[in-house]
């Protein structure tokens, strides 16, 4: 700005003032150089020019400068901070010269800069003058009318709304204009009321309301629009209820579509507030709907009926019929879009009607218009229920291939979200779902790897029955070398590798799996995924060894086992899998190896493969990979070493048992099941009366510090097991918290269940630390959630339990437990806790994110309530808990020792009763439960409301 030769400080030369550039000159100069830099320079020069001109005493010069400045700030976003428009504008407002006045008004209404806004109140008097009906004698009526129109324009502008007090002082001046029914004044009055309701409502509301009944259609239309605007959602429509008669009158008599649209909108807002209103307006609305030729009015009628008159069946059917006509409008994408929007407004009660248009909606998925596609997808996702989820998801996945990448991922995201919603409540057939997930991962544009991977692992953890299929799907993902090149799929592959490793006992061909996990292209994987792959190999090989060793023991064979190619293959071929495409490693032995994965050759082949491919990774500079490679190679070496010994000293009968011991030990490391834990598990512990946490904490400081390491392990574990995705953390889990895993084994992966409160505060007060207010909230949330769950419950393998079931179970549990659980020992505290418990059971259970497992726990009466307690012990009192899964036995002993005597007996009971076998039984029970659910929940139909 200061770069121009004519600096503002210099007095304007004669030439400058004589030949002032007009706005058009300015525009031309701006267009002369279209480049950004050129334009910026031109704007800067013009601004400095304006800066000088605007201070000219001459009104003409000033007005042209103002015009240029307005133009620049409006369309070129010139920095007006240094050039507040307001002052010269306000000066010129008073000009008798109409063009100047117009420029000034335009400038004032466009300027939104804080500096100019603060000056705007200076214009109050001028506005008042321009609004008042005493025209200067020189000007005619037309002139006067125009001037007041300008003033109204400014008054209705956002600038005036933001300027303090301006509308307040001028509200009275609007009244005569309102009385004449001027549409401008009505519109301005609406803005003034919206800007400062406290001052404007007493003055303007009644005159405005009177306009509704005005015989002038322009006035009534404008008034309807004004009230429509004022009753818009953030505001409450209740104060407008008394206007209903006038509005109704307008609805039945007005011939203006604009007025009718606005009236309908107001009624749509009023109808929910006044039940009788709906019955009154339904007939006129239906008449309009059938009669009107204007699409805009028809659409507004449809919207009004569907949103505000859902109880009037005939009207709704009529509206749906019209909406279908909209959808069928092949030549007009606007109507198709709005038709879909309208169908989307339909309440769940008419879900069947939506299904009628399913074909049309499905067709819209292929529309060229993204709006229409999105809306169709939204509608289709709204239709999904447990019965049609397979069809719809299949159809959608079919569309993915035909769609552009963005929409393809929208579809994938929508399917994932719908199926994964509320712990897969819609999915009945998890085998199908797992293969769907795998199919989704393989679609062309898939960028949803994170969520697919998460769900693969999550389903694995939650739904035991589907694990065989899961492992099959994981195999197909892992053996495809092409997938390794797609970085979006890394999370999926990571999940597949984890699943294959974790549920390796379900795999058909471990050799193939090892080959897939070690194929050369795995070098493309990021470190974190690579680490998961290696760890999965570890699990697979451990399992193979254990089967192999077990088989040796069973057959009572001679123990001169050596890992040598000379050994014969004694076992029958179990499985003949198709050879996988990968692998230069597949030597001559590969095909024979394939016959029996647990034969000598197979084991040997796998060990060799591991040593050649993982061996080099010991020197990998990424610790995650290096760590796991070391583990794996170390294990293989150990096995070999034992066998070496065996080979040299065949007489030593000790060796096979050493091998057996080693393999079994390693196997136990991995044989614990991992399960999901509720996010809120810890939070659910209600604070018992009379327990002052802070004091306890102080007293327990010593004890806490003693256990320093334990909580950290547990906390680390906690979230990762909940999300169940982060497979990288899995080793830390398996090795890190043995007592946890032991506990998990016993209690069916069911953590911090309802009974959690019992000893928890005593054992580990920190856990309660954040409880006071938040727990209440969460409890309330849980209540809501519970309610939703009741309704949202479907029969499916997903195991959200409805509160009803939960209640029964927990009551059963409590009554059955009371006598057996050392009632006499109970102190007042646990009595109080029990009360809390009874109240919070339902919530706690319902929001558990566990699924099958969760239900198992619940159905398994004895286990459900207490399963949490041991976890607390783990958290609190076991320094050894982070050592290893294998130390669980000692650990458990320690547990007992460390616990207060009074809880000891109880603990043990609990532990026993909720063992792994109970787990399986629970599974079956759960199945039965599922089938009977429709009977137990009378509100079942309501469910739909929440789902759609």
């Amino acid at each position: 700005m200061a770069s121009t030769p004519a600096a503002p400080a210099v007095a304007p030369s004669l030439v400058d003032t004589l030949f002032q550039r007009s706005l058009n000159d300015l525009i031309k100069s701006l267009r002369a150089d279209a480049s950004a830099a050129g334009e910026a320079a031109a704007v800067a020069r013009a601004l400095s020019e304006i800066h000088r001109e605007i201070r000219a005493p001459d009104a003409a010069t000033k007005s042209v400068a103002l015009q240029k400045l307005t133009y620049l700030s409006s369309l070129h976003f010139a920095p007006v901070a240094s050039h507040p428009l307001a002052f010269p504008a306000i000066e010129l407002l008073a000009s008798p010269h109409l063009p100047h006045k117009r420029l000034a008004y335009l400038a004032a209404s466009l300027s939104l800069h804080p500096a100019s806004l603060s000056l705007l109140p200076l214009a109050t008097h001028q506005l008042h003058k321009d609004l008042s009906p005493s025209p200067s004698p020189s000007a005619g009526a037309a002139h006067q009318r125009h001037v007041s129109a300008l003033a109204l324009q400014l008054l209705a502008s956002p600038a005036a709304a933001a300027a303090p007090d301006l509308p307040v002082h001028l509200a009275h001046d609007l009244v005569p204009h309102l009385a004449r029914g001027s549409p401008r004044a009505i519109a301005a009055a609406a803005r003034v009321i919206a800007a400062s309701p406290s001052a404007a409502v007493p003055v303007l509301f009644k005159p405005l309301a009177a306009c509704l009944a005005s015989p002038d259609p322009r006035a009534s239309t404008a008034a309807a629009a004004a009230f429509c605007d004022l009753s818009a959602p953030p505001a409450d429509a209740t104060p407008f209820l008394p206007l209903a008669p006038d509005l109704y009158n307008l609805l039945t008599t007005s011939r203006s579509n604009w007025a009718l649209i606005k009236v309908l909108k107001v009624f749509a807002r009023l109808a929910p507030l006044e039940p009788r209103l709906a019955a009154r307006i339904v007939d006129p609305v239906c008449q309009l709907l059938t009669r009107s030729g204007a699409m805009s009015l028809t659409f507004e009628c449809i919207r009004t009926v569907l949103t505000a008159l859902p109880a009037h069946d005939a009207a709704v059917r009529l509206a749906i019929g019209k909406a279908k006509e909209f959808i069928a409008a092949d030549d007009d994408p606007n109507l198709r879009y709005l038709g879909l929007l309208a169908v989307g407004m339909l309440g769940p009660a008419y879900a069947s009607t939506v299904h009628d248009c399913q074909d049309a909606i499905a067709k819209s998925l292929g529309d060229a218009d993204t709006n229409i596609r999105q809306e169709a997808l939204h509608l289709i996702m709204g239709m999904v229920n447990e019965n049609n989820v397979m069809d719809i998801a299949g159809m959608l996945i079919g569309h993915v291939a035909k769609s552009d990448p963005e929409f393809a991922n929208d579809i994938l995201g929508a399917v994932l979200a719908a199926c994964g919603h509320n712990v897969y409540e819609m999915v009945v057939d998890f085998d199908w779902y797992v293969s769907l997930l795998a199919d989704m991962a393989r679609t062309l544009h898939c960028a949803q790897g994170d969520e697919i991977g998460r769900q693969l692992v999550d389903v694995g953890l939650r739904v035991q029955d589907t694990r065989p299929e899961l492992v099959r799907s994981a195999r197909t993902l892992l053996i495809d070398p092409a997938l390794l090149g797609n970085h979006f799929l890394f999370p999926v592959l990571s999940a597949a590798a984890w699943v294959s490793g974790e549920y390796v006992d379900l795999t058909k061909d471990p050799v193939e799996l090892v080959e897939a996990l070690l194929q050369p292209r795995t070098g493309l994987l990021p470190i974190s995924v690579r680490a998961v792959y290696i760890h999965a190999v570890f699990k697979v090989i451990t399992w193979c060894f254990s089967v192999y060793v077990g088989r040796l023991g069973d057959s009572g064979m001679a123990m001169d086992v050596t890992f040598d190619r000379s050994a014969a293959d004694q076992t029958v071929s179990l499985d003949s899998n198709v050879a996988l495409g990968s692998g230069e490693e597949q030597g001559i032995g590969a095909s024979t190896v394939r016959k029996d994965p647990f034969s000598h050759e197979s084991i040997l082949y796998m060990i060799d493969l591991i040593q050649t491919t993982v061996g080099p990774l010991i020197n990998c500079n990424e610790v995650e990979v290096q760590d796991r490679a070391h583990n794996l190679i170390g294990f293989v070496h150990l096995v070999r070493e034992i066998q070496e010994l065996n080979k040299t000293k065949v007489a030593d009968g000790d060796k096979p048992s050493r091998l057996e011991e080693l393999v079994k030990t390693m196997r136990t490391v991995f044989c614990q099941e991992l399960g999901p834990v509720s996010v809120n598990a810890q939070m659910k512990v209600a604070l018992p009366d009379g327990l002052i946490l802070n004091e306890n904490l102080v007293e327990l400081a010593g004890m806490v510090s003693e256990d320093d390491s334990t909580p950290s392990t547990s906390i680390f574990f906690y979230p990762c097991s909940r999300h169940s995705v982060d497979t990288r953390d899995e080793p830390a889990v398996s090795i890190g918290s043995s007592s946890l895993s032991e506990h998990r084994k016993r209690h069916g992966l069911f953590y911090l269940q309802t009974g959690k409160t019992e000893d928890e505060p005593n054992d580990y007060p920190q856990a309660n630390d954040s409880l006071p207010s938040s727990s209440n909230n969460s409890v309330n949330d849980d209540k809501l959630k519970t309610a939703e769950l009741v309704f949202g419950r479907k029969k499916s393998t997903a195991t959200k339990s409805r509160p009803k079931v939960v209640k029964l179970d927990t009551e059963d549990f409590l009554s059955s437990m009371m006598p057996s659980a050392n009632v006499p020992k109970e102190d007042p505290l646990s009595g109080a806790l029990r009360d809390v418990l009874l109240g919070s059971d339902a919530k706690a259970l319902s929001s558990q994110r566990t699924s099958d497992i969760n239900l198992e726990g619940m159905l398994n009466k004895t286990s459900s309530n207490e399963s949490s307690t041991p976890r607390i012990e783990n958290l609190g009192s076991h320094p050894a808990s982070h050592s290893s899964r294998t130390s669980k036995q000692q650990n458990h002993d320690k547990e007992k020792g460390a616990n207060p005597a009074e809880s000891d007996g109880k603990e043990q009971r609990k532990h026993r009763s909720s063992g792994r076998s109970g787990h399986r039984q629970g599974k079956h029970k759960h199945r039965e439960k599922s089938s009977t659910q429709p009977d137990t929940v009378p509100q079942a139909p309501v469910i739909q409301d929440f789902l759609l």
Binding site: P158, D236, D369, I372
Partner: protein
């Protein structure tokens, strides 16, 4: 109400921008709502509490960002698709955009839930028609060079976000009336300072003579 009227060229240059009480989406502000009161409408004090906070106008610096984000939305859309776009993310909840792409210009209205989509589309048509009538086959250059007139036309149609006139003929008539008034007012004392200004003025006077 209509929140914004925009005319943007395909070169992302705004040709007309008019904001009617537009508020930046502010989650904090919108979450604070007056509790609904069941009281009668005649109790003024109660009515007062109902209305949302006075709008905080958007800083002009942000206008450019808005134009850009709107243009991004527009340019992503192929021809012959529906004219409506949800713009909740840019202009706050419930807002929609209706647009027309004509030659090198996008005509855009942004409106909230108080307006009917198809009615807005009609209004947009009225606006374009009116421009066409006023400029005799409107082209981008007309819009570039007639900043004030564009605003005059728009102001005859929309006031404070409310539609006040939907007849293109009526709007043209009003605009011509205003031009006549301006001319009356300026003939008395106005001496154009710029050569070009003078030139154009003469031309326009000639073109208007039949009307006078």
């Amino acid at each position: 109400m209509i929140q914004v009227v925009m005319v943007i060229s395909t070169q992302v240059k705004p040709r007309l921008l008019k904001f009617y009480s537009f508020q930046v989406p502010n989650p904090l502000l919108s979450s604070i709502q007056a509790p609904p009161s069941p009281l009668s409408f005649f109790n003024t004090q109660q009515v007062l509490g109902q209305f949302p906070h006075p709008d905080q106008p958007l800083a002009p610096e942000k206008h450019q960002d808005l134009v850009r984000s709107v243009f991004q939305l527009l340019s992503a859309r192929p021809n012959s698709v529906s004219s409506f776009v949800k713009v909740d993310s840019v202009f706050g909840p419930g807002t929609k955009m209706v647009y027309k792409h004509l030659a090198t210009l996008y005509f855009v209205f942004i409106f909230d839930s108080s307006e009917n989509e198809l009615a807005m589309l009609d209004l947009l048509q009225v606006f374009v028609e009116t421009l066409d009538r006023c400029f005799k086959n409107v082209c981008e250059l007309d819009d570039v060079c007639n900043f004030n007139k564009l605003h005059t036309i728009l102001d005859e149609m929309i006031l404070g976000g409310q539609v006040i006139e939907t007849s293109s003929e009526q709007i043209v008539k009003s605009v011509e009336e205003i031009e006549r008034l301006e001319k009356q007012s300026s003939t008395t004392s106005f001496i154009p300072k710029s050569i070009t200004e003078r030139f154009t003025r003469k031309l326009s006077l000639i073109s208007l003579t039949p009307n006078i």
